[in-house]
C-alpha cells in the first residue's frame, strides 16, 4: 500500500458543501489531507505555487482534485482548461463535482478532459456515499500519473 499521505484538493466556494464534504471524508476515516480552495484563482494559485502559495513545492500535486463548476472569479471550466494547458499539471486527475446536470456542462467538462463528472446529490447520505467512493477510487484504486522530477 502507499505509505505517502496523499492530498485531495477540494475546489468549492460553498462553505456548507465544503464542510459537508470534509465531514464525509472524516467519517469515512480518511487520513488524507484535504486542501480547500475557495475559488478558481485560489485553486490555480495552489497548483502553480503562486500568490499566497508562492514557494510551495509545486511537484507535490494532489492525488485528485474535486472541482466545482460554478465558482466565483474563475469558473471551474476555466480552471480545468488552465490545468490541462500546463505541462506539469496536464495529467492531474480532475473530478467535476457539481449540482448541474445540464448536458452543456457535462459536454464541456469532457471536452476539456475532465476524468470524471459526479453530481452532488441533495441527500446527504448519498453525498457522503459519493465522497467515500470518490476517495476510495481515486486515492486507492486509481494509479496516478508518474510523479515528475525536477
Amino acid at each position: 500500500m502507499m505509505i505517502q499521505e496523499q492530498t485531495i484538493l477540494l475546489v468549492e466556494d460553498s462553505d456548507d458543501d465544503a464542510e459537508l464534504a470534509m465531514r464525509a471524508f472524516h467519517r469515512a476515516k480518511s487520513t488524507n489531507r484535504v486542501v480547500r480552495a475557495r475559488d478558481g484563482v485560489d485553486a490555480l494559485d495552489y497548483l502553480f505555487g503562486r500568490g499566497p502559495y508562492a514557494g510551495r513545492d509545486v511537484l507535490d500535486l494532489p492525488a485528485v482534485t474535486l472541482l466545482d463548476l460554478n465558482l466565483p472569479k474563475v469558473s471551474g471550466l476555466e480552471v480545468l482548461k488552465a490545468i490541462r494547458a500546463e505541462e506539469r499539471t496536464k495529467h492531474l486527475p480532475i473530478v467535476i463535482l457539481t449540482s448541474s446536470n445540464e448536458d452543456k456542462d457535462r459536454l464541456s467538462a469532457y471536452d476539456h478532459f475532465a476524468n470524471s463528472y459526479v453530481l452532488k446529490p441533495v441527500d446527504y447520505d448519498q453525498f457522503a456515499a459519493a465522497a467515500l467512493q470518490l476517495g476510495l477510487y481515486w486515492l486507492v484504486l486509481n494509479a496516478p500519473p508518474p510523479r515528475k522530477e525536477k
Binding site: D16, L20, S99, N101, E102, Y124, D125
Partner: protein
C-alpha cells in the same frame, strides 16, 4: 318667203342642230349621269368613310379606354406588388425580430434552469446535510420527538429536491430536439403496464390495450407521456375493487385520437382547465400522492408534436385522457 325661209334656214338648222345638239345633250346627260353616279359613289364613299371614321374612332376610343384600363391595371398591379414586397419585408423583419425574442427567451429559460439547478439545490443540501449531522452526532442528547422533527425536515427536503428535478425535466423537455420515428404504441404501452404491475404485484387491474396502435414521434418523449398517463390511471384506480384501464384510438375526421380510460376516482370537470398547469393538483397528498407535474409534462410533449391533449371525467366515474400527435392519416 323662201328667202324668208331661206332667211330662215334655221328652220332646218334646228334639225341639224338637233342632230348636232344631240351630242352635247347626250354628253351632258352622260356627264350628268356619271356625275350623279360619281356623286352617288362619292356619297357612298363619304358615307363609308364617315362610317369607317366613326367605327375607327369608336375602335380607337375603345382601344384608348382599354389601354387606359391596362395602364391602370399595370399601375395597380405594380402598386399591389410593391405592397406585397413591403408586407413581405415587414413579415421577414418581424420573423427575425420574433426569432431573436424567442432566442432571448430560450436563453433566459436556460439561464433560469441553470440557476435553479445550482442555486436552489445548494441550500437544500446544506439543510439536509446538517440535519443529518445532528442526527448522527447528537442522537443521544435529543429525545425521540426532536429526532422525528429532524426526520420531517429531511423528508421535506427530499420532496423539494424532487420538485426541482421535475421542473428541470419539464424545462429541458421544452428545449430538447425532437427525434421523430415510427413508434409501436401497443408494445410501448404493454411495457409501461408491465413495469407498473412489477412495482405493485398485488394489485389486480384489468388492462385493455388495443392492437396495432402506432404513431410517429419522439420515442423517448412519447414513453414519458404513456408512463404518466398509465401511472395516473394506475394511481387513481387504486381504491377500485375492479380497476380497469383501457388504451385505444379512434379516427376523428382525418385525425387519430388516442385515449387512456380508467374507472378510477375521476374529478370534477369544473377544474379540468387547471389540470395541465404545472404543480396544480385536484387531490390531496393524503388521498393520492403526486407533485402535479405529470400532466404539464404530457401537455408540453404533445404540443411539441403538434398535437392536443384533453380530458373527460366525472367524480367517482373515472377519467379518459385523449391526445393526438399531429400526424394526419
Amino acid at each position: 318667203m323662201a328667202g324668208v325661209r331661206q332667211a330662215n334656214p334655221g328652220t332646218s338648222v334646228p334639225t341639224k342642230n338637233y342632230v348636232l345638239n344631240l351630242g352635247p345633250v347626250h354628253l351632258i346627260l352622260t356627264v350628268g349621269a356619271m356625275g350623279i353616279l360619281v356623286i352617288f359613289l362619292l356619297t357612298i364613299l363619304l358615307a363609308a368613310a364617315v362610317l369607317f371614321a366613326a367605327v375607327a374612332s369608336r375602335r380607337r376610343r375603345q382601344a384608348e379606354a382599354a389601354n387606359r384600363e391596362l395602364t391602370n391595371e399595370v399601375r395597380e398591379r405594380k402598386r399591389a406588388e410593391e405592397e406585397v414586397n413591403k408586407l413581405n419585408a415587414e413579415l421577414e423583419r418581424r420573423v427575425v425580430e420574433r426569432t431573436r425574442q424567442l432566442d432571448a427567451a430560450n436563453k433566459e429559460l436556460e439561464a433560469f434552469s441553470y440557476s435553479v439547478s445550482h442555486d436552489l439545490r445548494a441550500p437544500l443540501r446544506a439543510i439536509d446535510g446538517f440535519s443529518k449531522a445532528i442526527l448522527d452526532e447528537y442522537a443521544e442528547t435529543l429525545d425521540k420527538q426532536a429526532c422525528h422533527y429532524l426526520q420531517r425536515v429531511r423528508t421535506g427536503i427530499q420532496k423539494m429536491s424532487g420538485l426541482i428535478d421535475d421542473l428541470l425535466n419539464l424545462s429541458s423537455m421544452s428545449r430538447a430536439m425532437l427525434r421523430k420515428e415510427s413508434i409501436n404504441l401497443t408494445a410501448l404501452a404493454r411495457d409501461v403496464v408491465a413495469e407498473l404491475q412489477d412495482r405493485e404485484p398485488l394489485r389486480k387491474v384489468v388492462i385493455g390495450i388495443a392492437d396495432g396502435l402506432s404513431a410517429v414521434g419522439d420515442a423517448q418523449l412519447i414513453t414519458i407521456v404513456l408512463v404518466n398517463l398509465f401511472g395516473n390511471a394506475w394511481k387513481y384506480t387504486a381504491k377500485r375493487p375492479e380497476a380497469q384501464i383501457a388504451f385505444g384510438s379512434e379516427n376523428q375526421g382525418n385525425e387519430v385520437v388516442f385515449y387512456i380510460r380508467d374507472n378510477g376516482a375521476g374529478f370534477d370537470m369544473a377544474y379540468a382547465a387547471k389540470l395541465f398547469a404545472p404543480f396544480q393538483r385536484l387531490h390531496q397528498d393524503s388521498e393520492f400522492e403526486g407533485n402535479g407535474i405529470g400532466l404539464a409534462t404530457i401537455q408540453r410533449i404533445v404540443l411539441r408534436h403538434g398535437g392536443r391533449v384533453w380530458v373527460k371525467a366525472a367524480v367517482n366515474e373515472g377519467a379518459t385522457f385523449f391526445f393526438t400527435l399531429g400526424d394526419v392519416q
